[in-house]
């Protein structure tokens, strides 16, 4: 940890970064914080807990106000996937953002069922094995169709319309949100119109979701949102060969034609 703090301090001193978005210890609670060269003493409170905050979502808040600053950001595997996608969508300039990589602990990787619990370059922690687990999707795929419908409707009907899933999502960077369009989803109702509210969000996640699972952690109604979004992520890779969160390459083929503009999806099994 001391080595890590020293590394950040060096980055400050060399002018390579003008701020570092990390986590600070506040009493019992780890909370996000932007460390700056003006207050190097704050680095004493820097911590790397097994708790995840939406770092890239916070980064966007800062970048909107300070588009020219060189910033370092603490990135786990999930954060790095988010940054890759934000670059593709031209929300951040890669040359201004320095990834400071954290490998997740085995505990965290297990509780997140994370398929890539580390970023490309690691500055802290030891790489642990990825967790391959699609049992949540399989469990639903094997249900009879009607049971599947009832299952999702009963899950969606718990929704209290807090918008937490959207608010915490690093990939929800639109200026206007369809979920708030009164013509599409009547405002003022909780639960909101189901399943349209959740399916529209799921569809939006198709080319974007980087499978961090923060949405599900933020859901007061305990709706298995991540399973839903993991499914559309799979559909994207299965039918269109697109995996969001990978570095460089093509953009979301649902939004952009891409260089292979004539690409058509493989055929769907309607059974």
């Amino acid at each position: 940890m001391e080595k890590f703090k020293k590394y950040i301090k060096e980055l400050f001193e060399s002018g390579e970064i003008e701020g570092f978005l990390g986590i600070r210890k506040n009493g019992l609670h780890p909370v996000p914080h932007l460390f700056t060269p003006e207050h190097p003493e704050e680095l004493e409170t820097l911590t790397i807990p097994d708790v995840r905050y939406p770092m890239t979502e916070i980064l966007l808040t800062i970048v909107r106000k300070y588009p020219d600053k060189k910033l370092g950001i603490m990135v786990r595997g999930c954060d790095e996937r988010a940054l890759n996608e934000l670059v593709k969508n031209q929300k951040i300039l890669p040359e201004l953002i320095k990834h400071i990589g954290i490998a997740c602990s085995a505990d965290l990787a297990a509780s997140c069922r994370c398929a890539q619990p580390y970023p490309e370059e690691i500055h802290y922690g030891e790489k642990v094995a990825p967790v391959e687990d699609r049992s949540d999707i399989e469990a639903i795929d094997t249900m009879p169709q009607e049971e599947r419908f009832d299952y999702w409707m009963s899950e969606f009907s718990k929704c209290i319309k807090c918008y937490g899933c959207r608010n915490i999502c690093s990939m929800c960077f639109c200026d206007q949100c369809t979920l708030e369009d009164n013509d599409l989803i009547a405002t003022g109702q909780a639960p909101p119109a189901i399943p349209i509210f959740h399916l529209i969000r799921a569809f939006h996640m198709a080319g974007r979701c980087i499978d961090c699972g923060l949405c599900e952690e933020a859901c007061p109604a305990h709706i298995p949102l991540r399973t839903l979004y993991r499914k559309v992520r799979e559909s994207m890779s299965g039918f269109l060969g697109y995996v969001s969160g990978t570095e460089g390459g093509e953009k979301d083929p649902l939004e952009f034609l891409g260089s292979e503009g004539y690409m058509v999806p493989s055929k769907i099994d309607e059974k």
Binding site: G27, L28, I160, K161, T187, A190, P220, H222
Partner: protein, 531 residues
């Protein structure tokens, strides 16, 4: 609350009545949903079919104001079936025989007649509640805001004691407190009959203790409640009023009456963050700070003390409210208002208040403390009545059913009940200036059963006039099966169509709570030209 919030998750049965939990306490609803996932049975008894009702295993609508009857009915069934907890009754309670006698007349048939709850459903509820290992009762203003509010609460306590569903984790009788710090403001004696920590002003020894602590002689006479003070203004007895962060003109029952009183009063001081309807009538307005602009503590609904922390400065010349009050205290000639920080105030609080005595700012930074916490090595009390009730034995109170004060009649044939929406808060002072919330809903409406809508001759979104004996308001109709026939619901957040112009100021004789949840109204269609 007798128990703490996280405990709900491990209950086997949760009986919810008079609480629109997903709207008013969403993160408690979250725990209840978790409990259901873990296998708990959720029972909702409420006149309105709200979101939480649609998630329940059993939902039933009682007639407005009939709570004592169905609770007595439950107890009669429990006794008949032998589902009571005999050893708990024997060891921990008194007055059981009287209770038994009092509930005997509440046969399922009679209860069905009064409450509209089918007798089979009542029996099912009785069985699940009484025979589950850990059953918890959750209630809110739907139980307390009645002229029989105290009776309703005592009936629920009877039920919990009869079945021994209290004094253990994940059981108990749990009122969900409405405001962020309503528990704390009651603890700190913002009530007329006690000093901080529920120490009666009428008790000589206690009064002497406070006279010593504060260095002045104190009045032995209990003061007036909010509604009584309003009446005292009208009678010319109360001449000056200081209102801190409240908007009685919208929140209090029978608003027309409140408005007259505030117009008539000699001198009104309002300390707030916005120019509320009440502040407009003031003689002096003091600008306070929002929760983001000051330090201090709140006491949550489960008696848990938590800090709020200053994030930014108050705007312009506005000041943190504790600072303003210290200045007011000194200005009116008070002694002992030289505090440099909220922490210093808290130290004095802990000194005079036994139930907070062991609590310090340092401790609540590091641990979760629920009062009572009587010394620095006392870990506090997540749930109450573990080894017995505070007042010795738990006392059963025999209670009979009394109908609501104002029943529907020819002139006012519908029953109005009021409540909250998930998107707004109380009188809307804060939520109605919040764009994300007003985007969801920003006008009053009235929920009407389809049969009644047909009678009145209105369609969805048409405007009607609601009239009670006290006033009238206009609102848009929403036709829904969520309300029973004959009952209409209106949220009370909207000052321009304030539900409380209609409500009745009939008070519970003990708790002095107004009967917000039932009054009689008439509904008329407004012709196009009028609307």
């Amino acid at each position: 609350m007798t128990n703490s919030v996280p405990e709900f998750e491990d209950a086997d049965c949760i009986l919810i009545t008079g609480s629109n939990t997903t709207s008013s306490h969403p993160l408690i609803a979250s725990r209840i949903m978790k409990a259901k996932e873990k296998g708990a049975k959720i029972i909702v008894v409420d006149p309105r079919k709200m979101h939480i009702a649609s998630l329940a295993d059993i939902y039933v609508a009682q007639n407005l104001g009939s709570d004592v009857a169905w609770i007595n009915g439950l107890m009669r069934i429990i006794l008949q079936e032998g589902w009571e907890n005999a050893s708990f009754i024997k060891e921990r309670t008194e007055g059981f025989e009287e209770l038994k006698k009092a509930v005997a007349e509440y046969t399922p048939e009679k209860v069905e007649e009064i409450t509209g709850i089918p007798k089979e459903t009542l029996k099912e509820i009785a069985k699940i509640y009484a025979t589950s290992e850990k059953s918890s009762i959750v209630y809110c203003m739907g139980i307390t805001q009645h002229a029989t509010g105290t009776d309703n609460v005592k009936s629920l306590a009877n039920l919990a004691m009869l079945t021994g569903q209290i004094g253990r984790p994940s059981t108990g009788v749990n009122p969900l407190r409405g405001q962020n710090n309503v528990q704390g403001s009651t603890d700190l004696a913002a009530i007329p009959n006690v000093y901080p920590g529920y120490q009666p002003v009428t008790d000589d020894a206690i009064r002497e203790k406070f006279e010593k602590a504060w260095g002045v002689p104190l009045s032995p006479d209990p003061g007036l409640t909010v509604v009584e003070m309003i009446n005292a203004v009208e009678e010319g007895k109360l001449k000056g009023l200081f209102v801190l962060g409240e908007n009685p003109l919208v929140s209090d029952p029978d608003s027309n009456h409140v408005e007259k009183a505030l117009d008539a009063i000699d001198f009104l001081v309002v300390q707030d963050i916005f120019m509320t309807e009440t502040a407009r009538k003031a003689d002096v307005v003091l600008p306070g700070a929002s929760f983001a602009e000051k330090d201090g503590t709140y006491t949550g609904t489960d008696r848990r003390l938590q800090k709020i922390r200053k994030a930014v400065e108050p705007p312009d010349e506005a000041k943190a409210d504790w600072d303003v009050l210290c200045r007011v205290g000194k200005a009116v000639g008070g002694k002992g208002f030289e505090f440099a920080s909220p922490e210093e105030v808290f130290r004095e609080i802990a000194e005079v208040m036994p139930i907070y005595h062991g609590i310090t700012y340092d401790r609540i930074e590091k641990e979760i403390i629920h009062w009572p916490c009587r010394s620095e090595d006392d870990p506090g009390s997540p749930y109450l009545h573990k080894d017995g009730f505070a007042k010795g034995k738990g006392h059963f109170t025999p209670i009979g059913y009394k109908p609501p004060v104002e029943l529907p009649d020819k002139e006012y044939p519908y029953q109005l009940t009021t409540g909250r929406l998930p998107f707004h808060y109380h009188t809307g002072t804060m939520t109605r200036v919040s764009p994300s919330l007003t985007h969801e809903v920003n006008e009053a409406f009235i929920e009407v059963h389809p049969t009644n809508a047909f009678e009145i001759g209105v369609k969805n979104s048409q405007v009607v006039r609601l009239t009670s004996r006290r006033g009238s308001v206009n609102a848009k109709v929403i036709i829904t099966n969520d309300v029973k026939k004959g009952v209409v619901f209106m949220p009370f957040h909207f000052a321009e169509a304030a539900a409380n112009r209609l409500t009745i100021a009939a008070l519970d004789p003990i708790a002095k709570i107004p009967e917000y949840k039932v009054c009689a109204v008439n509904i008329e269609k407004i012709e196009e030209s009028e609307a």
